[in-house]
């Protein structure tokens, strides 16, 4: 008997016995055909829904890699600028050399330092605010000694850093270079920060929640008036309820939750729901789980820790963050822990510290990734580009990056020899020109532990730790004298940039677009759309003791958040998302619709696939979630830790939605919502109504009712199958996947 494979028979047998059916690709092929033949000048990634409102379907506005285009564009500009600068600098160098040779000689004699010293000191000539070399009393070859005469930042432990942080950056006088003294234990500023962070009642916010919300409304309305724009009408209560569950809990509401909300008396019902989600114990675990995962995305990306060989233990990181969200720990305290964490990432290790999972993959040879990520996440500033050259569109110079980088150079991340995990440890740093292992004081750099970097013209420069506001710390690399990461953490947690960056990011989560686009690229080149509001909210957030839940409450109860997503017919100006990722002109005159995040879709589908109405049972298994999300995100493998997502209307997303395992569970007659509806005693119309509420949080329209009635009449004897089809169609509709 022949043992040859019989592919045709095998295929048809497989189809017959596993009850598979070939996919219907008509719509997909036609769409692709139309796209190929259509004119190319169409706005990217924009879908249109029936009501004519154009919707951007960017996968996740918060994802840093969403703005890759902008980064690439910046790089191109930077390359051009680099060429121009090179040509100009060459010409100028020649002229200067011939014309003022004497001055050059003076410069060389003052900059060149014998032995392992850098060719030139780092940046005093670039810092217009402070130039120690112009001070005749200071010896340029011994900056530590000379700086001792400078004004130190005197930290009074009795004064809250939050209180000292109340001045908005725009009203601050440019800060002169200051220096934080070192000591043998933790620096005073660190101690003060930790003391405040751990002591929650120290919040100093005077305004009530209502006053802050009123302030938001007033400033947003002022921008509408300035632009002569009428805001959209208020969202329906079902729409508001759905988006609030999605944004706060990461899933759509159950029918019971929706009915409970809509059946309440109008007075303060929004406040009631927000307070319930944020404070009620029934939601604590779910809230913490969602935000733990959400913030892990911010810290290490959606793909971080998804690969088997990744040093990040994502589960531990998410649990760690979730525990803080559950307790509503002051955010500055969490930031402090994340930035200063040492120990092992392995849960069974003696020195296990889940907070190490933030930096563990970024403390490579020169810790450049840790530098840029910490700045992005906590300061809202993108510094990657100034790693190699000065910023193309503002006055940030290359040394700014390396001065921040110097804060991380006492730390490294190494794989444990006795286990699978990694460990972050701090150690003495002798500077790149020194000998780290030498005990010979003659070989140690008397000026401190330095970092070298190369400018575009080939000149090697040196940098010592200096914060973005020009605060310097002692240059020593010895841990016994100064712990640089702790100093950095204290500087960040007392900086006004931390609350601004956080508020901007959280605002973007709830409103769809931040005050700047992208949210982690704030700076003079990218001014915020509502500077006063951003500054005020940042101040209130800091004064509230970095209370995340209060910040969420202010935003969700603001008028802008409660507007309909549908713009009035004559409002063409307020569609900033159409230009995403270069969105601009955000006035928040309507709620900017966007596609659910992958996490929200997963949680929503998981919820409708489960039959329990109890919120605690709705929580999806973290590993299931990671496995499902992992298929949509992958690391690009570049030096900026960029990520690529296929959760953007791609084929794989469409397939997952149409016939993926999760969709199969959600639409199975024996599971969840559908099973409950089929087995209920409701009449067919009520059953359909229930399915609409469960999927779209609204009742079917007259037109939809009529169409469904026709379907049900044609298939009278198979009501269950008809309901299953309707349920599948609802879950696959644009309206379901949109947060609107």
């Amino acid at each position: 008997m022949s043992d040859k494979p019989d592919p045709i028979f095998d295929l048809f047998l497989e189809e017959l016995l596993s009850e598979q059916t070939p996919p219907d690709l008509s719509a997909r092929i036609l769409a692709a055909h139309q796209q190929k033949t259509a004119p190319k000048a169409q706005p990217p990634k924009v879908a249109t829904i029936a009501n004519g409102v154009a919707i951007a379907v960017a996968a996740s506005n918060s994802d840093p890699c969403d703005s890759n285009t902008k980064v690439v564009s910046a790089r191109t500009k930077a390359r051009k600028a680099r060429r121009n600068r090179f040509a100009i600098s060459m010409s100028l160098s020649l002229v200067l050399f011939l014309a003022i040779g004497g001055l050059s000689y003076w410069g060389v004699t003052n900059f060149v330092i014998p032995g392992d010293q850098p060719i030139a000191d780092n940046d005093p000539q670039k810092d217009p605010q402070k130039d120690p070399q112009k001070d005749p009393q200071k010896d340029p070859q011994n900056p530590i000694e000379t700086n001792q005469d400078e004004q130190f930042v005197q930290v009074n432990p009795d004064v809250s850093p939050i209180e000292t942080n109340q001045v908005t950056p725009d009203t601050r006088v440019p800060k002169e270079t200051t220096q934080v003294s070192s000591n043998n234990t933790k620096p005073a500023v660190v101690q003060a920060t930790l003391a405040v962070a751990k002591n929650q009642p120290s919040a100093t916010l005077i305004q009530s929640d209502e006053q802050v919300i009123q302030e938001i409304n007033t400033l947003i309305a002022a921008a509408w008036n300035e632009s002569d724009i009428q805001p959209a009408k208020a969202a329906t209560e079902e729409e508001w309820c759905r988006r609030t569950y999605l944004r706060l809990l990461g899933r759509i509401p159950t029918v019971d939750e929706l009915k409970k909300y809509t059946s309440r008396r109008p007075k303060d019902k929004q406040t009631w729901l927000v307070d319930k989600i944020l404070s009620d114990k029934t939601y604590t675990e779910e809230f913490a789980s969602y935000w733990g995962a959400r913030w892990a995305n911010v810290l290490v990306g959606r793909a971080g820790g998804m690969q088997k060989d990744s040093p990040i233990d994502r589960e531990s990181l998410e649990q760690y963050l979730a525990s803080h969200f559950a307790k509503n720990t002051p955010y500055n305290y969490v930031v402090q822990e994340l930035l200063t964490a040492t120990g092992s990432t392995t849960p069974d290790a003696k020195d296990f510290n889940p907070a190490t999972n933030f930096l563990v993959s970024m403390l490579d040879d020169k810790a450049t990734l840790a530098t840029s990520k910490a700045c992005e996440v906590f300061l809202g500033q993108r510094l990657q580009c100034i790693q190699c050259h000065n910023h193309p569109s503002n006055d940030w110079q290359q040394n700014r990056f390396w001065q921040l980088n110097a804060f991380f150079r006492q730390s490294d991340s190494k794989k444990n020899l006795d286990s699978k995990g990694y460990r972050i440890a701090d150690h003495d740093f002798s500077g790149e020109g020194g000998d780290a292992n030498s005990t010979n004081s003659k070989r140690a750099n008397p000026n401190g532990a330095e970092v070298y970097f190369e400018e575009l013209n080939g000149r090697v420069q040196v940098a010592y730790p200096r914060f973005v506001d020009n605060t310097e710390i002692p240059r020593s690399g010895k841990l016994s004298e100064v712990n640089r990461r702790e100093q950095l953490a204290s500087l960040i947690t007392t900086s006004n940039l931390l609350p601004k960056a956080t508020v901007n990011r959280v605002w973007q989560h709830f409103l769809g677009i931040g005050f700047t686009v992208p949210v982690d690229d704030m700076g003079p080149h990218n001014p915020p759309s509502h500077p006063e509001l951003l500054n005020n909210l940042a101040d209130h957030f800091a004064a509230s003791g970095y209370d995340f839940k209060r910040l969420m409450k202010w935003i969700t109860l603001s008028k802008a958040y409660g507007l309909s997503s549908q713009a009035p017919a004559d409002q063409f100006a307020n569609h900033p998302e159409l230009n995403y990722p270069q969105a601009s002109g955000q006035l928040f005159a309507r709620y900017y619709s966007r596609q659910m995040e992958a996490e929200q879709l997963f949680h929503s589908l998981t919820m409708v696939a489960k039959s329990s109405n109890k919120p605690l049972n709705i929580i999806a298994d973290a590993r299931d979630r990671q496995q499902w999300l992992g298929q949509f995100a992958r690391k690009m493998g570049d030096d900026e830790a960029s990520e690529d997502t296929s959760f953007n209307g791609s084929i794989s997303q469409s397939l997952e939605m149409m016939n993926g395992q999760l969709m199969y569970k959600a639409t199975n007659k024996k599971n969840g919502v559908l099973q409950g509806v089929i087995s209920s005693k409701m009449n067919p119309a009520e059953k359909v109504d229930h399915l609409f509420l469960a999927a779209l949080s609204r009742h079917p329209s007259k037109k939809e009712k009529k169409a469904i009635q026709q379907i049900l009449q044609k298939r009278q004897h198979e009501l269950d199958l008809s309901l299953q089809d309707i349920w599948w169609a609802l879950l696959n509709s644009n309206e379901f996947i949109l947060d609107h």
């Binding site: 008997m1 022949s2 043992d3 019989d6 592919p7 045709i8 028979f9 095998d10 295929l11 048809f12 047998l13 497989e14 189809e15 017959l16 016995l17 596993s18 070939p22 996919p23 219907d24 690709l25 008509s26 997909r28 092929i29 036609l30 692709a32 055909h33 190929k36 033949t37 084929i651 397939l655």
Partner: protein, 189 residues
Amino acid sequence: MASQPTTPSFDAAKLIETHQTGIWRYLRSLGCEGHEAEDLTQDTFLKVLQKPFEDYEPVATAAYLRRVAHNLFIDFCRRHGRRIVTEEIEQLDAQWNQWVKDDSGTELLEDLAVCFQKLTPRAQQALRLRYDDKKTRLEIAEILEIGEHGAKNLMQRAKQQLKACIERKQKTDTPNTVTPNSTTHNTEE
């Protein structure tokens, strides 16, 4: 000539609707995974719709589409470093013409369902284990409590019986003997 608009003598949506299943199945039988077959099916139609095209007759069109799909499949294999066994593909084409006819395999599937019911319960179980549960031959042998060779013979016999049954059915039914015209419909070629 680069992409020209298709002539209005046919309806693209109807063309896709009529032939997509056949092309998808054909690509699956060539060895594509489901998602690969979907992508290549799409590419097949996009390729064909790029150029002037006239849909004279469904059988000939189906053959033409299979030829395009076949070529795209070969390109796909080359790009992904897969081995292409031309002899097997040609043999497969012949088998396709023999079994599948011009309805994308709907009739064959129906006949197969009828004939499957005529198999012994043990043979049905073996095939179910193989094609539905995706069990290996060794696992099937253990479940059925027979040797691995016995399991192989059982399934081979069952498939032979199915083929014989289908052949008988096709002979008794009105034969559709239109030979696929593989001459291309592409007016450019």
